[in-house]
Amino acid sequence: MAFEPVLSRNFNVPGSQSIDVYRQRGGYRAIAKALEMGRDAVAEEVKKSNLRGRGGAGFPAGTKWSFLPPNRTVTYLCVNADESEPGTFNNRYIMELDPHMLLEGILIAGYTTRATIAYIYLRVEYHKAYRILQKALEEAYAANLFGKNILGNPDFSMDCYIHRGAGAYVCGEETGLIESLEGKRGWPRIKPPFPAIAGAFGKPTVVNNVETLSCVVPIIDRGAAWFASIGLPPASTGPKLYTVSGPVKRPGCYEAPLGLTVRELIEGKDFGQGMQDGKKIKAVIPGGLSVGFLTSDELDCKLDFDDPRKYGLLGLGTAGAIVIDESVDLRQVLMNIARFYSTESCGQCTQCREGTMWIYKIARRIASGTGRLEDLDLITEITATMGMMTGRSICGHADGATFPLKTLIKKFRLDFENYIRNQKGVAEVIAAQ
């Protein structure tokens, strides 16, 4: 049975960014329905759909909303559009090709959580998405979808602002995002209190990813039961926007039910359509850089919320696959990864701040041809000293750094040992020194 696109259904429709086209194709039907259903019913529906956050951690969205204190007076909704995970661009597709779907999702979430202001925290590099979203927001305001008494409902008023980030990876972490939104340095906060209790400006706050909010629209429109039947229930329900990049024939963003295998994503005719010019796969980062590496023997890994863990990965992540072919020098991969995480470390927790930089220095040395075999063990040891999962850091940045680094060294150890035995540096690295 061919999968009928849900999140990407408007992507190829001409003029999909306009409110009229969106409406013609059934848009803004869900918010009207939600207003009729009432807050509790909508919340219940989202819970039943078992929608899990698409931002990387996979926390159930309905449960997240239920953490808000019942006697709150002010609630904020923060939309995490700071999509900065390397290899990931599905939020960008949504915002550039179907901005009204996101706005409708914001409306439903805002209505359900009684939010009065929604902030879209947009990655600053997304200039095009900013223009498109801004225009869509103006259209929505003109149609009384935002502002006072939305769609004539005296019980629902909400404003929406787009706040552009300043180019920090760590501001994609929800409390880093909130700090940055408040105009402060984007240092993730210590928890508790969680944002649901004291978030933006000290008030109860919901932070949801763009794709998560987009999923709320079809859930209300077509029902939780329908949504929960897609994918691999009960843990992984619903459709997912996968992205694939690297030397595949057709890199891009494709929709499929949760549970697509990495092999299908790379080779499927609806997806990547295989490698370019007979190139051979060396390694795949299946879900955004932070989840870690798969070898070419592990391509049957299913991209859902459970399977990646069996391959030693952090999780599903953002389902943005990066394919690396055999012509690539893995030492450069190691160095690039280490550089990314070291320069993006916010500088707050010692292990992450110093550890990532140390690894980068070692990786650069390995790439320049003066690596030692013990460096591989040293990198592995340093990765074990940091991370939120072991309680050693405040946020998940260090975990995001350790998984690609340690899986790369563990799964491709022989390659690294050969590189080091040959002691021939990467030409570009030596030239840059």
């Binding site: 210590i190 990532t356 930089m357």
Partner: protein
């Protein structure tokens, strides 16, 4: 109260206190940098991590958490069980210490902090002898962040205490963290240097040698310094301080933690307000009618001046001006000496220097109860104490203004006037009024127009050279110790007053205090702040 178990030992504490504080107060060895009892908790140094015992949701058994937990961020709850001595915790401490030293320049031999540096101490206890990093170190810059403070970023551990201090206590927000990762640095916002009136505290709370006091820079190795407990005399707050001195000189002042008065801080006015002590302008010998005399001659002269004046009308023509810079014991002794000769002598509380208003911190605050620190407008330490002494002694009394007014009318034949201020204090008004007093005995630190025309001028000592008790604006009586001997040629004020009072031996504030207890209620409850555990001050 709550009972928690740390490393197998039961410790009693107030419910909700950070576990780190409970552990350190109870004497457990727990390393940490970012926690400070006076600042918000950020849990970013990750050095105080511990293990906690909790119920396994699956089996219901009590098990040690596999995850480490920051003890600073965890409030103590009754029945809690934690440990800091497991291999996992130790491994983390070692790893973090290794991280701290990766890019540290290891320039202890030229670092002011050496000897009181937490990085040195923790390295000895928890660190490794050798660094495994073979690559070049990241070198962060050195810079001046204000007219009084230097920042050596290469030594910084980024605990952010200084940033939080400027934000939460001073309320002036000058400092911030710029850049990311290993290149992150502390910096002052462009155009807003670190110039607030409490800025010296950032140097104190810096656990390493990153923030340095320009005034103290390269002056002394800290292990040569001797420390005396004192009280700051610069305003009526009465902050408890440590005087660090060596070779007969004061080198720096530091706050001494005092939950009742100044908590952890002092202001720059107090911190740098000791320079006059070593001024070469000081009055160093007794002067009889402008001529230098021996102490014996001077004291005999004092008695000769007092006796006839005291005889006339039971000494109604005698006044003694007790400076609010004096300690209670000194005021008591002098009043006693004068009253012994002239029973009806008028007791006057001396000139009280005042600024326009109290300064509250964080700046902008108007509610005194919410202030984290107050620099009082009253620029003397012991007005309350001197007033209490006068009240206790009874008899004729006058305020300083009344005294001047009466003096102008020629009421007084003899006045004994005590100064002791760090600055020139004799106004035109004052010297005009006193020109009508026929005989003057002046006791002061610096020569003035008054001491020049005095029949007898006696040198006074600065507070670092004296001991006694100050009663602050709120009536809290705090004793202070002597840090330095008086300058050559001088005697401690109370020592010569002691002799004039006919008492034998060396002056001890305690001995005088004992005599005063019945009369001066303010001195019955002396407040000496308890010593705090390392790092909690």
């Amino acid at each position: 109260m709550a009972m928690i178990i740390i490393n197998g030992r039961a410790v009693e504490c107030a419910e909700g206190t950070p576990v780190l504080k409970v552990a350190v107060d109870a004497g457990f060895d727990v390393p940490f940098y970012c926690f400070h009892p006076g600042l918000k908790i950020v849990a970013s140094c990750r050095l105080c991590l511990m293990e906690m015992r909790s119920k396994d949701p699956k089996t219901g058994e009590m098990v040690w958490s596999p995850r480490l937990i920051p003890s600073c961020q965890t409030p103590a709850r009754d029945g809690m069980e934690v440990r800091f001595d497991s291999p996992n915790v130790r491994q983390n401490q070692r790893a973090v210490m290794e991280d701290y030293l990766l890019n540290h320049p290891l320039d202890c031999p030229v670092c002011d902090q050496a000897g009181e540096c937490w990085l040195q101490d923790y390295s000895m206890k928890y660190g490794n002898a050798l660094s495994r990093m073979t690559e070049p170190k990241t070198v962060n810059p050195k810079k001046s962040v204000g007219s009084k403070t230097l920042l050596y970023q290469d030594r910084c551990v980024l605990c952010s205490r200084c940033v939080r201090f400027c934000r939460e206590v001073a309320g002036t927000n000058e400092l911030c963290v710029i850049r990311r990762s290993s290149y992150a640095e502390i910096d002052a916002f462009p155009g807003i240097p670190l110039e607030n009136k409490l800025q010296g505290n950032v140097v104190d709370i810096c656990p390493v040698g990153a923030l340095l006091d320009k005034d103290f820079l390269y002056k002394q190795r800290v292990w040569y310094l001797k420390t005396s407990k004192s009280i700051c005399p610069n305003c009526s707050t009465g902050c408890t301080i440590c005087i660090d001195h060596n070779n007969g000189r004061v080198w720096r002042l530091r706050p001494r933690t005092n939950r009742k008065v100044n908590t952890w801080w002092i202001c720059d006015e107090g911190r740098f307000g000791w320079k006059y002590v070593h001024s070469n302008q000081r009055l160093l010998a007794p002067m009889l009618k402008g001529a230098r005399v021996t102490w014996d001659a001077a004291l005999a002269a004092a008695q000769q001046l007092l006796a006839p004046a005291g005889k006339a009308q039971q000494g109604k023509g005698v006044a003694v001006v007790l400076s609010p810079m004096m300690a209670c014991e000194e005021a008591w002794l002098l009043a006693k000496v004068v009253r012994a000769a002239a029973p009806q002598a008028t007791l006057v509380t001396g000139f009280v220097p005042k600024a326009s208003a109290d300064e509250l911190f964080p700046v902008g605050l108007t509610d005194q109860a919410k202030a984290k620190f107050i620099i009082r407008a009253e620029k003397c330490p012991n007005r309350c104490g001197v007033e209490a002494v006068c009240k206790a002694l009874g008899g004729p009394q006058a305020t300083f203004a009344d005294f001047l007014a009466k003096a102008k009318q020629g009421t007084f034949a003899l006045a004994w006037i005590v100064g002791g201020y760090s600055q020139e204090w004799v106004t035109r008004d004052c010297s005009d009024a006193l020109s009508k007093v026929s005989q003057l005995i002046v006791q002061d630190i610096f020569p003035s127009s008054l001491s020049a025309r005095a029949d007898l001028a006696l040198p006074s000592c600065a507070w670092v050279e004296r001991e006694g008790t100050f009663v602050n604006h709120a009536g809290i009586a705090q004793p202070f110790d002597r840090a330095l001997p008086p300058p050559v040629g001088c005697q401690q004020d109370s020592q010569y007053l002691y002799r004039l009072a006919g008492m034998e031996g060396l002056y001890r504030a305690e001995k005088v205090r004992e005599q005063m207890l019945d009369k001066v209620a303010e001195l019955r409850d002396l407040w000496t702040p308890p010593a705090e555990a390392r790092g909690m001050h």
